[in-house]
Amino acid sequence: MAAVGESRITYDARGLAEPDEVVPGISEIDGERAVFDAADLTTRGINLELRSLLYEQGVTDVTVRNPKARHSLGVGILTRCRITFEGSLGYFGCGLIDGPEIHIKGRVGWSACENMMSGVVVIESNAGSLTGAALRGGDLVVKGQVGARSGIDQKGGTIIVLGSAGSMTGFMMQRGRQILCGDVGHGLGDSMYDGTIYVGGKVRSLGIDCVPGEWTEADTEFVERKFRIYGLGDPPELQKFVCGKKLYNYDKLEPAERKLVL
């Protein structure tokens, strides 16, 4: 355990954290695989080490030990690779990624995988709120429960949650799919534009303009395929929810304009 005051974060005049950090270079590299222990590294040190391995040293499979729930780890990785975090991540973990297959053997905090473009992230435990916010592509699998507002502003990709989900899940969702196996909180799919939400448990309440959808063969095929890929066993009985398209009123006139026309 660190004594009080042992590791201080330094800031430069612009407020940039750890401005003088250099690549720690502590990994044990074995061909295309590498392992390093992040226990004594700063957040910036961990990210610099990851980037150096993946972009400069030709490594495609990295294992990070002891991430210790720090924020903003594994962000902005834009290459095909495999990353394993042997522990929990803090906020904004694995955001803005395009391509990696990431396995997190712990929990993640708020805003994990925000704006992910493609790739796969598998989280073994629970996730905080805003998981997969503005997700654009790829698959995000959470084996525990998620907090509120998962997949807010989702624009593509798939979010699979084996546990329960909080309120306002799929808020303003625009495209993509969510498979939520447990119970869901208030305001599911509130103000969604498009996309599909599958729910296995109880829904506390539906949000505005979110309605039950008609189940088709394509839905069965999709859910079974995703469960097979990630080895999640048999999918539970699911209900389907889609956008009611009652809020689609872009072609309508503003009240003041309507008076003029009529």
Binding site: M1, V4, G90, Y91, G106, R107, N126, G144, G166
Partner: protein, 311 residues
């Protein structure tokens, strides 16, 4: 933004290093609030009453008779305490403007507080048989060093790092808040309350006093009011979800329990770890990992949840 933290050990009265624990937790969340830091620590319960009070702010200008004046005010407080029939057994001056007074007293705490706070510049931070509230400007390490909290042992604690948004950066605007005039009740809060003035007027009419302009103080006084009507901590907290408006996650503590409540929107974060020997909760998991240094199972409580643990 603000960061809140709480820790409660689950094995009765046995003392634990809660001063050190809370400093580690709060220091790891310094980025959430660098303005001021506060602690509510529960030491071993005893028969004496412990009063923590301040006579000035850390950043008050030091005019030429500053120390003389504070000395006069402190002597006045002591003479008023004696006049109310209290026996002062110990006075510790930790800074030149804050002190900790141990006294033997079995009268009405509201009378005592009102009489003491009538002295110019004096503010009672906490009063109780085990509760001690310590708050000041600066980060957790500075406050801990200033008030020598590293060796403080007890059963449970809450803490707060503050990024001031609704009121001034000073000691009275810092958390935790003591639930005047109830012994051993304190609150820390992350969020904003939008019906603050309604509740402030309502509670002032039922003779509660407010030390600060900070919206969070409402929660402490609100819970105190409910508990004085006979409600339990948990029931009072449940009622607060209906009656307080805004976004909030707050932690409330009494002499033997620690509870957390989250509003209907779940807009403010909280991460929870329930171990066999202790329960730790904080705005960020990184704070819990500062005291439980191994991989642990944690989760976020949902919207509208109230959870209470007994020590």
């Amino acid at each position: 933004m603000c960061g809140i933290a709480g820790i409660i050990y689950r094995n009765g009265d046995e003392p634990h290093p809660i001063g050190r624990d809370m400093t580690l937790m709060l220091q790891s969340m310094k980025h959430r609030g660098p303005d001021s830091t506060g602690y509510a620590l529960y030491g071993p319960p005893g028969d004496s009453v412990i009063m923590r009070c301040t006579f000035a702010d850390a950043n008050d200008p030091r005019d030429f008779d500053f120390h003389d004046r504070l000395g006069r005010h402190q002597r006045e407080v002591q003479s008023r305490l004696r006049a109310l029939g209290a026996t002062i057994s110990n006075v510790e001056e930790e800074t030149d403007y804050a002190c900790r007074i141990t006294l033997e007293y079995d009268g009405d705490l509201k009378d005592l507080t009102d009489r003491v706070e009538d002295v110019a510049g004096c503010e009672v931070l906490s009063l109780g048989h085990s509760l001690e509230i310590i708050k000041d400007l600066g980060d957790a390490e500075e406050v801990s060093a200033q008030y020598d909290l590293g060796g403080f042992t007890g059963t449970h604690a809450i803490g707060h790092v503050r990024m001031a948004t609704e009121s001034d950066v000073d000691i009275s605007g810092a958390h935790p808040y003591w639930a005047y005039p109830f012994a051993d009740v304190a609150v820390v809060h992350n969020g904003q309350l939008t019906n603050y003035f309604q509740w402030k007027r309502r509670l002032e009419r039922s003779v509660h006093r407010f030390q600060s302009e900070c919206d969070s103080e409402i929660i402490a006084v609100y819970l105190a009011e409910k508990m004085s009507e006979g409600a339990s901590l948990e029931d009072s907290m449940r009622a607060s979800l209906e009656e307080l408006d805004g976004v909030f996650t707050y932690i409330a503590v009494t002499g033997d329990a620690l509870g957390v409540a989250k509003d209907e929107m779940a807009a403010k974060p909280l991460v929870l770890y329930e171990g066999e020997d202790l329960v730790a909760l904080a705005s960020e998991e990184i704070a819990i990992r500062a005291v439980v240094d191994r991989e642990i199972e944690t989760w976020d409580p949902y919207e509208g949840q109230v959870l209470v643990w007994q020590r």
